[in-house]
Symmetry: C2
Subunit: 265 residues, 2 copies
């Protein structure tokens, strides 16, 4: 928000504020009060109230009559469903379910939005909390894949590389080397860099420009995704990613070259 | 949009514009160009471009690099999924699927947003087009249910009652009488009022205040939903609506009185 304060009040400011308010609900599993929202977006309470009124009137938000707290409204459910179906993501669901069943571990599909990997389909969403899943790029296998197969300029994520565990890569140069390794190996590994005891293998869903349009991850513990079985998990994920390129990309946007070969260390 | 033009430029205008732009995608199954969007929202092209830039930067919209057209972005898919799950709508899916299978006809669940009934779950969404389904209130069984079980003030929908077929109720007084009949009968009927040859029976999902939080409809032709079988279809829908009250409403918001008895003419 603060980045906008120098700009003229040309409407873009209000758009960013509206979107910032909506985003609060992506990060929070429960309804929020007007003062919660003002605090999280760093907006004056009066401005927040004014924006919330407009957003409630159009169904983007909904106010609980008992608690006066706000939640995402029916318009968001409607448009969100349209966005989900129009991107063909419902067609990815059975592919991910089959992959998860075949491997016995969690399978997730994410897309990059700004400086986050956002999980849109997969086992992590199947549970009941309905919490949106936004993950940092630098400390996740999903994020490393999205960065490794992107333009050089897009590799610059600009934010400080916040440590999640003592294994998180926090040095930008070390991250650059890691991304080169990922690209050469054909897969990314997150070995306790987000949470200790969690190991994740990810591969790209590539488009015609050799960009990762999505990242596909298998997640479990190091006892399940052992060093010996790492290659097998990566191959399983890569086979599913190839299917997803067909399911999610139109024919004219699909990769024509060979898939990256999984190269174990 | 025009209703805003007299208001001071206090941010609410930009919010309404942003939401109007997003809404264009709920009504259109395909991507839209900046000039399409300017025309549909009645905004100057320069303003539209400025808002589209802000909306694309945050992932609410996405621009196709080949066609330069806009579509709903990953943030909408993410937040929409959060809204859908947090409202428990995924728990309604198996109930509606079972109802559709038991009756052999289309089963849909809608919520009211402004002057529309918006289908959020059901057979009409299961097909592949991903188009959002917004229906008028006065010419649909879903809409009649949402109006009949609401506060008197909410029955005033204010818009002209546009005819869809020669059977559509277009006189506000006749609609008022129809809503009283619907409430007394415990169900609503749309008998060729939206499209000829289509007959729909709908019942309310009621809350503790006796308001229809959702409307549940069964849709087919008059040859399937015959006069003789109407009662059976309405009873099947009502049984499912009772289950949905449990699935979709927290215990303290649930109806305590008896369910409306289905009274055939």
């Amino acid at each position: 928000m603060s980045g906008d304060s120098a700009k003229p009040r040309d409407g873009a400011q209000a758009v960013h504020r509206t979107l910032a308010l909506l985003h609060c609900f992506g990060d929070s599993p429960q309804d929020l009060s007007a003062s919660d929202l003002a605090r999280r977006t760093d907006l004056p309470l009066s401005t927040t109230h004014r924006l919330l009124r407009a957003m409630t009137a159009t169904g983007f938000l909904e106010q609980d009559p008992d608690t006066a707290r706000y939640g995402l409204g029916p318009t968001m459910a409607e448009l969100g469903r349209a966005a989900y179906h129009r991107r063909g993501l419902h067609r990815a669901e059975p592919e991910l379910a089959a992959l998860s069943q075949r491997t016995g571990v969690t399978a997730d599909l994410a897309v990059r939005v700004g400086a986050r990997a956002v999980i849109l389909v997969g086992s992590s969403l199947a549970n009941d909390h309905g919490r949106a899943l936004r993950r940092p790029l630098h400390s996740t296998a999903l994020g490393k894949v999205l960065l490794a197969w992107s333009d050089a300029a897009d590799r610059e994520i600009g934010t400080p590389l916040t440590p999640q565990t003592d294994r998180t890569i926090t040095d930008p140069r070390a991250l650059g080397e890691e991304l080169n390794r990922v690209r050469a190996a054909g897969y990314a590994l997150n070995d306790g860099e987000s949470a200790s005891g969690v190991r994740t293998v990810a591969v790209p869903v590539l488009d015609a420009d050799d960009h990762a349009r999505f990242a596909l991850a298998l997640r479990s513990s190091p006892e399940v995704i052992t060093g010996e079985r790492l290659g097998w998990f990566a191959e399983q994920a890569a086979a599913c990613a190839t299917a997803l390129e067909v399911v999610l990309l139109p024919p004219n946007r699909r990769r024509t070259g060979p898939r990256p070969v999984i190269a174990l260390p």
